[in-house]
Amino acid sequence: MTKDDKGSTATVETSEARDKGDSPLREFGANLVSTPREFRDSVVRHGKPTSDRAKSQVVMSNFFLHILPVRIHMHSLKAATTLGLGVATFVLFIILCFTGVLLMVYYKPAVDQAYGSMLDIMNVVPTGRLIRNVHRWSAHAMVACVFLHMARAFYTSAYKKPRQFNWVVGMGLFVLTLALSFTGYLLPWDQLAYWAVTIGANIAQSPREVTDALGVTGVFDVGGVQKELLLGAHMVGQEALIRFYVLHVVVLPVITAILIGVHFWRIRKDGGMVRPAAADAPPVAPVLSAEPAPLKTYGLMGLMKGRTPAVNLELRNTVTAWPNALYVIGAATMVTVLSMLLLGFWFDAPLKEMANPAVPENPAKAPWYFLGLQELVSYSAFMGGVGIPAIVVLGIALVPFLDREKEDAGVWFSGKRGKIVTLYSVLFGTVTVVGMLCFTVKFGWLRDWEATAHVPQIVITAFNPGTVFVALFALWSIVVVKVTRSTRMGAIALFTCFLVGFVILTYFATVHRGPNWDFYWSQSDWPVH
């Protein structure tokens, strides 16, 4: 970078001293005195960020800030553009790494010690309870934020060209976030953990439902291999605990960190946050301050791959990232950290009795974000645990390749028509899912009816309440594509249906499922045992 005035003054001083023929000792003394300043100037090679030029240098010459563009579009900084959700997710990831390493100091991944070390952390270790609480609540919050961030990227068409690949990277991060939560869930080794993971591991084995029906499990046992890889055994035990621990503290966080790096880098390469054409309208505020001519034209450095190659246009409505973007990021960070601290201060993360492989927790409920799947799993282990999730994740990952409609991206719901489609899809999704749930609770399913009591398992795997409403969702979005002649509208319809289905199933399994997975209006109606 350009050498700054300050740095050069310091050098001049010392060489002056030498010219005067002073003793080397004097020179050493002068060096010693000026070392703090020299050191500072070697780290920060520019003056105070008062001019646009210096502000650009701050961002460009700082390792941590150069992920930001020098100038950033004002639309990207508006709260309504991102809702700060991506930043919040990232901050939660950092909080989790920080508190996680602290927890590792005391946690022992052994079946006879893990639960005891959790009790220690909760009751003996200084600040242990708070750190554990913050870790747990941040994990929940990260899952929630990643969901919402994905929804925001979807509804603002941020997956469109040139951002298709970053959408896929995002899906990778989504799956990794869930995997991190799932592996962390086992570590306390309490009843909840033990049985939720037993169920999870058997879901990994559930392709057997299909291979058994086809009679090929003997030669092609995917389910069995998956479970053995995950548990290193046939049951959740010491082997499983170590495997989950390694995945949770090393493998998954490292992969996630790398993918987050790719995600951020691609945002820059894809031209920053998606924005509608209207955001490039004539400037609404003075853009370039009247500064003395800079040595370099940083406008060129800020050149982004956009709709037009017009360099001048790119500068319209932009502000320097320092400090404008940093204020926004800082605000999102503060809100996130503060809410986690308050949550951790006021609410204790649950810890049940120690794991007991002989007696299942009843009901054995997974963490909330898996409860929707647990409801589906209670129709068919394979479809609910593997089939439908795989279809949904693949479907969402492929959205940018299936809907390539050119339209004004960066507009919430793609405008008025999209809002209407979203509204109707919410209605359709709600009626379908609530209808199916009521039907299933009231009348049961194939096996509960005389005529179909003995249908083979494969029929139930293929045809159960879960597959029925996924099929209905697909049908609905095809209808929407036909009627609106727009794949974007079809995508909105499908995505909205999945979202609604997820929310309703999660609510239903959380509130209305009790012991034996029976239906109850509320927890106070549960039989006491």
Partner: protein
């Protein structure tokens, strides 16, 4: 991608391997990729256990004489019920074939699972709920010293009875 860049000529994109040097270069690159993939696959063999911690799935349950006729005994550690009927012994695993919870035995001798409500009749056959099949009938043998031995990883056909 920027719209200003002209798309590649399709002939340019799928240019056939023209020269010998190109061919050798490609062959070298792909060999390196293949070697790397094979090495990774080899390393990934490590987490796949060849011996299971529960490889000793056989457990002694006691001498046959210790169990009265028409009695039912539950072994929580082995997760199985031992039944002695009129003509011999049989055993049922208490692990639910749906997702691995432990099923409960009701008053009448039927079983039901607390996790997603699978139901089984007195013989362990599936009568309702999401489980894909009935409870597993566990293999029983008699050891040389005359003890009943159950192998929880060995399934036998329903109705198999051990006369001992």
């Amino acid at each position: 991608m920027s719209e200003t860049k002209a798309p590649l000529e399709s002939s340019e994109r799928f240019k056939p391997v023209a020269t010998r040097r190109d061919f050798l270069g490609l062959a070298a690159a792909w060999s390196a990729v293949a070697a790397f993939v094979m090495a990774m696959l080899g390393a990934m063999r490590l987490p796949m256990p060849s011996v299971f911690p529960e490889s000793n799935s056989r457990a002694k349950l006691g001498r046959p004489a210790a169990f009265a006729k028409n009695s039912t005994t539950y072994f929580p550690k082995q997760r199985l019920w031992l039944f002695r009927g009129e003509d011999g012994f049989h055993a049922l695993s208490s692990v639910c074939p749906h997702l691995g919870c432990i099923v409960e035995r009701k008053e009448g001798g039927q079983f039901s699972c607390p996790c997603h409500g699978s139901k089984f009749d007195v013989e362990g056959n599936l009568t309702g709920g999401p489980a894909p099949k009935g409870l597993v009938s566990v293999e029983l043998t008699v050891s040389p010293e005359g003890q009943l031995v159950a192998d929880t990883l060995q399934e036998v056909p329903r109705g198999t009875v051990l006369n001992a």
